[in-house]
């Protein structure tokens, strides 16, 4: 490790955070160890499994492939923030109802990917959902229930009309 730190100021779940970070500090470690936001998880640590998925400036990102030092001025949202704001409430309810969660380790990433899919595609087919969620590894469910849950939310959001996008971050 070489000496020196980088000063960053960024928004995490709507709160402004200023920190001095080592250049090599990963976003996931930053969230977990600096901020206690443990809902973002380490799993593969090389960008395949999606357990560390967060939103950076509104876009899906792999937390494990990003250094905290890169994020000065960025807006980061995690499962904790998106749960508190209620953005994911219908997806979370559907996941519970369909048991689209078992061990829960992949759930944050799965929900964030599903939410982003539904913003991009209001009427996805089951194949669309399967394709979009294929960056998120789940070992427990076999995916079927997750697809059911996302499909159901897509339909119920569509039935409610186009207004909800306003509330989304």
């Amino acid at each position: 490790m070489s000496g020196g730190t980088v000063s960053i100021r960024l928004s995490i779940n709507g709160e402004s955070v200023t920190r001095e970070v080592e250049p090599r500090l990963n976003l996931v470690d930053f969230l977990r160890d600096e901020l206690g936001l443990t809902g973002t998880r380490w799993s593969c640590e090389h960008g395949v499994c999606g357990a560390c998925t967060v939103l950076i400036d509104g876009a899906l990102a792999r937390g494990c492939l990003v250094f905290a030092a890169q994020l000065d001025g960025s807006r980061v949202e995690t499962i904790e923030g998106l749960s508190r704001s209620g953005v994911l409430a219908d997806l979370q309810a559907a996941f519970q109802l369909h048991n689209a969660v078992q061990c829960g380790f992949c759930s944050a990433g799965m929900l964030l990917s599903a939410e982003t899919l539904l913003r991009e595609n209001r009427a996805p087919s089951r194949a669309d959902i399967r394709h979009y969620l294929s960056g998120n590894y789940c070992r427990c469910t076999g995916y079927h229930a997750i697809i059911d849950a996302v499909e159901e939310v897509a339909k119920s959001r569509a039935a409610k009309g186009p207004s909800r996008k306003e509330g989304a971050p």
């Binding site: 977990r32 749960s83 048991n99 427990c140």
Partner: protein, 789 residues
Amino acid sequence: MSILSFLDRPASYIGKRVPRPGAKRLLAGGGRYVDDLRLPRLVHLAFLRSPYAHARILAIDTAAASRAPGVVRVLTAKDLEGRYTPWVGVLTHFKGLKSPPQHPLARERATWQGEPIVAVAAESRALAEDAAALVKIEWQELPAVTDMAGALAPGTPPIHAELGDNLAFTRSVDAGEVDAAFAKAFAVVEEEYSFARHTGVCPEPRSILADYDQAGESLTVHYSNQAPHMMKEIFAKHFGLAENAVRVICPDVGGSYGIKIHVYPDDMTTVAASLLLGRPVKFVADRLESFVSDIHAREHRIKARLALTKEGEILALDMDDLTGIGPYSTYPRTSAVEGNQVVNLTGSWYRHRNYRARLRVAFQNKPPTTQYRAVGHPIAAAVTEAIIDRGAAQLNLDPAQIRRINLIPDDAYPWTTASGLKFEKLSHQAALEKLLKLMDYDGLRREQAELRKKGIHRGIGLAAFVELTNPGPAFYGVGGAPISAQDGATIRLDPGGSVTCAFSVTEQGQGTEAMAAQVAASALGLPIEKVRIVTGDTERTPYGGGTWASRGAGIGGEAVLQAAHALKQNILALAGIMLQTPPENLDLADGWVTDKSGARRIGLDEVGRAAYFRGDTLPPGTQPEMSATRHYMPKLYPFAFTNSAQGSYLELDVETGFVRLLKHWVVEDCGRVINPMLVDEQIRGGVVQGIGSALYEECLYDGLGQLLNGNLADYLVPMAAEMPDIEVAHIETLTADSALGAKGAGEAGTAGAPAAVMNAVNDALKPFKVRVSSQPMTPQRILKALARA
């Protein structure tokens, strides 16, 4: 019969799709896994692992590492000497099974690539890894034994000289008149199968945080594990601690599937480090080290022969299994069980009386293999179901028909198989018929025929099989393992009228807590929100085996039922006194004490208040007992077998060798279905794990014992896009061994899917008159087969 009556009540939760109470917290990012704990003075462990499959350690230089920033201690085998006793993965009921003593850190020799050699404790994991990179080890590379057959070949040096050879275990079965049956057979088919090594890839890697309190002389281990009580025994035994000085807590567990139930040297090192340093020490495996340090599974090469009559009746089955287990038999369950299951199970759902099997278990310089979800079942099912399809093809019989002819009739129970397994009551024939209907088998066959004319190659695969569930002490305890076959529940009425149930079965996401809550709520006539389940803590739950071999509902659920019944009797006795009514005239419903007509008399909160706060209002001598504990272990049968039938429909691209899964069906008979949604999800998740091994997953090793694809980019796991929808249906044949009648469902999906998919691939290949009999059935293997066409 009164015990069963609650099941039929309209307010019963049994058989209902009740959502898991804990799911909401997990979905909000509120899971608490080991790595989420924050303890003061915590140190982090990183390991230096052997880069060689087999090598002598000539010297270790830790000087530079010890001086590195943030380093608390660098540990080698020498530093741990005398602080533990080594462990040996043998059990007495596996006669002849041998394995050498195993240590936390390798001593003179590394025996697989990935074996831990040096541990660095530092203030952060990053600093520990920095320092680990400064450790210098002088190695002398030794010849690696990687191939199973090679390991057993004469002249191959034994990996452990003191054991004499590389044959860890062997067993033979010879039942009936096998040779005579083959001699008179109309048709004999034979085939060789191979099943690759694969591994569990738990989303949450293995994680352990050991916290030794020197002053209090107590060890608390926060552990991502399936069997806290077992690990408590093991930590106490091997670190010389008093049994009651060790507490094992399993918080949320991010997937386990059998991976997190074995003794790992790096975990033992973590505990040793905490004892040595008197500080909490954490080790969380990263993904790359998981691939070389988690247990691996399977790796079998099997030759099978089947003798048939002209009509398609099986006369005899002969099978030879060679399996590789790495350099050690895993402790404490041993690595003999996987192969032993293959021998016990292969063909056991068919009627033949002539069966011969030989098992050879070989040591190799690769990571240990041992029990992983469905232990032995996927191999037994794939071999049996593949060779029976081969037999059907030879006799021009439809695969459904040959199964109808040979499956044990539904009215033939109790049944003892040729290999000696006892089946209480199964429903193979009904399950097969239900499956065929569910998948519209005849319709699929017509569609297949139509599409073949257009050059589209679809395959239909069927698989029947059994699953061993609810194991009694004959499985492990009898051989001397500290593995409990019984489980327990303590249910307490709280003063406000809710109940807390401490339960020895653990939760890894499969829904243990929901199942227990459903049983308790139903038996106590409570709304389910009034039931709180506590699991995963050796100091807070009754003693029990935890999660393994599909036993949580069948064994643990019955303990909860019996405890709830006992508590109900106690509540009614007290209510009877309060109401001056004979307790037998009272009942519980919807949180109330009612009379037999259902009319509400007093609330449970009133009973609770009287019991805990207003004992003064009770007649002299009254002692309320508002807690009850019951344990349960199966008694009538050593195991409760379940049966299942699966169907796979897929399309094969004969140009690329790619398989597109179109649909998968399962008919499952696991006895009483407590929560159909959770059972379906266990089945679906299991099917996908089975599909992974059938089509994608393989730990690829070179001849030197180096893992070539030890990362999640190169080791393929099933992702959503490749997976089919999976339809699940049930038959409920209850076991009479318990009042609940539930059997296990945790592994059936994994057990049968590789068989169904393999048969479907070979069905698609049928026009080319070639077959694939190696799993995973990669495009490369399929194209190789097609090249023979």
